[in-house]
Symmetry: C2
Subunit: 137 residues, 2 copies
């Protein structure tokens, strides 16, 4: 495959995937949208951060994040803690329930991906993962 063709293919396939992903995620977990799930995941990884950090990291408008965060708090999945060093800031943390729901959804998403990727040789999985990381970097 020539370089130009490969780029063309990557473009098309990434687009196909993008189109499907959200709907699939919604069908799998009506209780936790793709965005909410991603935000929870980020909070888990980072061990708590500000709404502005989330917005910057995911290239979302701060108003969007604000509303998502409000929803997650309403659902009892996260909590806001004041930052003693800066009264403007709310540091977001997962609640116990949030951690629990996140773990459940992650597990079932992982199962779906695992099924989808069943039969792939170990080496291909690693390389695919590496390419995606490099692409998104």
């Amino acid at each position: 495959m020539h370089s130009a063709d490969a780029v063309e293919t990557i473009q098309r396939e990434m687009t196909v995937f993008a189109r499907r992903a959200r709907a699939a995620a919604g069908r799998m977990h009506p209780e936790l949208s793709l965005v909410s799930y991603t935000l929870l995941g980020h909070l888990e990884e980072s061990g708590g951060c500000r709404a502005t950090d989330l917005a910057a990291h995911y290239a979302l408008d701060k108003s969007t994040v604000s509303r998502q965060v409000a929803g997650l708090e309403r659902a009892g999945l996260i909590e806001r803690r004041p930052d003693p060093a800066d009264q403007r800031v709310q540091v977001l943390h997962l609640t116990r329930s949030g951690r629990h729901v996140l773990a459940q959804v992650t597990e079932s998403r992982r199962a779906a991906f695992r099924e989808r990727l069943a039969g792939w040789p170990e080496e291909d999985l690693s390389r695919f993962a590496e390419y995606l990381v490099r692409y998104n970097a």
Copy 2:
């Protein structure tokens, strides 16, 4: 990287990509959403098909396709032709203008991807493309 980790990474990175794609596409081409672009592409490839075929192929509700198609027709990018064999059916075709716009958008999307993938070794591009095709199959 172990197999489970790779799956985990693939899941996360695909999700990241999915979240970004629509916004990026919108910024690049306000005149043609990601969905519309995909539908036009399908019409180009297939040389004309029915709205129902589009819905089935992309797992979209027929109402969604109906509205997208209406928009594309309003924009003069596609036209509906009656099917002499079945009065219910409208066969959708690209117009000259539709073909033109599609070509332009495709080219600039391709340029963006090419830039993003600049510096990747030929072999990695090919393999990445192959993985994506296999994943979406």
